[in-house]
Symmetry: C2
Subunit: 405 residues, 2 copies
């Protein structure tokens, strides 16, 4: 049976219709959950309060093995009819907004305004709605569903929640597919993860008085050489490989040779191999830049040295367009009248993709905008919202092997 046929059969089935009717009937509750969760701050590395609330919600939804892991992810199991292999349905707990941000929700008609409301708090609430809909309709899947609220998706969080889940967590090795529900749009199916490596590079030297110690090595010039070397590294367009010196700083006074300057560098690629090659070239060029400065000026008080700190490591990866998970999601989105698109981005799915586990990002339904800004909003208008939720629910059920009769 093709993916289109499987989805057509699913969405026409009375149990699926019953599930969608439950989503509609419970929509106000879902919106109330969005507001409740959005108003619990979840800054980077500060997800604990929201995690605790979500843990309680997972338990209230009747899941088994509800627990919090060592890095702060919360999860629970909806047992399937099969052998215990699992499909993960995730949403991330963290927002990009720092502690102290006003996260109260303002409602205007069917629009909700608040930092983080769409990225990714709506998905946390929608995943609970999916559980209620499946339960009410008696929908079972062969695979277990592992509902996951994960930490550390944004920025410096560096995917640490899902990374831990797949590398240290007790479910590692038992997962056959990973679906992250992230942001409202259901038509944009992310099937590839842009890999990124981020480094903070400090160049250190003896420093000294700008006049009295003139002639000593200056770490600013080593940094300058390294920056220009990075700018000149090849960036093959086919693999969408990019590099950037993004932030710089250092020095103590206008009348002093700095004893330390630093730069932050962002390296990305769709291709894990191209990313590794780029990073190797970058690290080589740092050594060359230091050597050149140590040769250009006096090291009698000490030479320039490097201090490298990794500040980001998101593996590249992709799920092939013809993988069943992609075909099913594409069919499920199309079945609700959307025009599905396959995209590359950096999401929680990067981690399983990089491990060869089928993984995609799907949507929570409805419209939204201005993510990562204080004006972030979503529209919870029921028609559009439910159409999107139906697409994602169908994807989850199909990927997990729904039992129909």
């Amino acid at each position: 049976m093709t993916a289109d046929a499987a989805i057509a059969r699913l969405v026409a089935h009375p149990r699926f219709r019953a599930a969608v009717a439950t989503l509609a009937r419970e929509h106000d509750r879902t919106v109330a959950d969005i507001v409740t969760l959005t108003e619990i701050p979840a800054p980077p590395f500060g997800e604990a309060a929201r995690a605790a609330a979500y843990l309680g919600m997972l338990r209230a939804h009747g899941l088994e093995e509800v627990e919090q892991d060592a890095v702060g992810n919360v999860m629970g199991r909806r047992r399937g009819t099969g052998n215990g292999r699992a499909v993960v349905v995730a949403a991330h707990l963290d927002t990009v907004f720092p502690a102290g941000t006003d996260v109260r929700v303002r409602r205007e008609g069917t629009r909700l305004f608040a930092p983080g409301v769409g990225d990714d708090t709506r998905s946390l609430a929608v995943n609970l709605a999916f559980l209620r809909a499946m339960d009410a309709a008696g929908l079972r899947t062969r695979a277990d569903l592992l509902l996951l609220g994960d930490v550390g998706e944004e920025g410096a969080g560096d995917l640490r929640g899902v990374r831990h889940f797949f590398t240290e967590g007790r479910h590692r090795g038992q997962v056959d597919a990973f679906l992250t529900v992230d942001s409202p749009e259901v038509d944009r199916i992310v099937i590839g993860g842009i890999g990124s490596k981020r480094w903070r590079v400090a160049f250190r030297g003896p420093g000294g008085h700008s006049f009295g110690a003139f002639g000593l090595v200056n770490p600013s010039y080593a940094l300058a050489r390294a920056a220009l070397a990075l700018a000149a590294l090849p960036a093959p367009a086919g693999s969408q490989t990019t590099h950037c010196v993004s932030r710089i700083g250092g020095g103590t006074s206008v009348n002093a040779i700095p004893d330390e300057v630093w730069m932050e560098v962002d390296l990305r690629s769709r291709s894990a191999e191209a990313l590794a090659r780029l990073e190797a070239g970058f690290l080589d060029s740092l050594q060359a830049a230091v050597a050149a400065e140590n040769a250009a000026r006096s090291t009698r008080e000490g030479g320039i040295t490097l201090a490298l700190t990794p500040i980001g490591d998101r593996p590249a990866g992709e799920t092939p367009p013809d993988a069943p998970i992609v075909r099913l999601a594409t069919a499920a989105v199309a079945a609700q009248g959307f025009v599905p698109r396959h995209e590359y981005s950096s999401t929680d799915a990067n981690i399983p993709m990089s491990l060869g586990i089928p993984a995609i990002k799907i949507g929570s339904g409805g419209r939204g905008g201005r993510a990562h800004s204080l004006e972030e909003w979503i529209d919870v208008e029921p028609g559009e919202s439910l159409r999107g939720m139906a697409a994602s629910l169908a994807t989850i059920l199909a990927v997990a092997g729904v039992e129909l009769e």
Copy 2:
């Protein structure tokens, strides 16, 4: 009469001996004035409270025309026997220490510890002691003495007090010599002013997402080119010409091409001409760096532009070693048993030197150390202190044309 002979005659004179006896008798009062003034904070651009106190002290010492000028300098005149031409005797009011620094004086034996105690607060008090000593001994000079407590000598103050005095003040054009009493050491006579020009250079561009906008111009690379161009500019050792990229900064996020980065640059020379040539080369190289970056990457969202802010301008200058002011000071220092040295530095004397007015820096006497640090100290032990004060008092009297019989 040679300088040595003139000084020898002066220091042997009963009136000079009487003046030195007054310094000795009043030493405790001088120390008390040091403590009083040190404990009035005088951070950069915040000298008002100390200036007001010093204004009162100048008035109490019987000076005429005691006043504060438009930039905050305080001054008064001790009338001479001549035609009203003047010799300035200055000390600077400001310290390098920011508002809020604990400036209470701690005394251990003959040592006083406090930020700014030696640089240059001691000199403010010592100049008052000189007035009392001259008055008590009936010592008159042909030139008027203009006692000056000036603002803005340190760092970003950029010599604004003395600059104003000589370019805008009402005494400009009437000054024949300038003596700044700055820091304790009397053996180190500053006869040349290192000129400096300081610039803050911002490189601005359109910015953008490090991945999505890859290929756009990046201001970090323009800065890097400009830094390396500066490092490569000639710095003729004979003129003690130096340059330095001292502080850098900019960028907003590791995943963004910066929309602005900046660097601070310090250019110095003993030679005004070499400094001007260096600065012209630097400014040219900035334009070249911007042009190179705009040629290297896409300007479709806008090109790199420059924003230049001058943050320091201290003119170079020198008083010839054979100028009478230098010969007299050298002889006066030697007459007290010190080994005089001629030095170049950046002091309030830069300004009159650059205008061709004979100017040097002399000392307030005694020992001291750790200037510009929170552990700054001076030693007010009377023997060494009075020997130094006698040297500087003799210099002032000789330069101003003391009337002996």
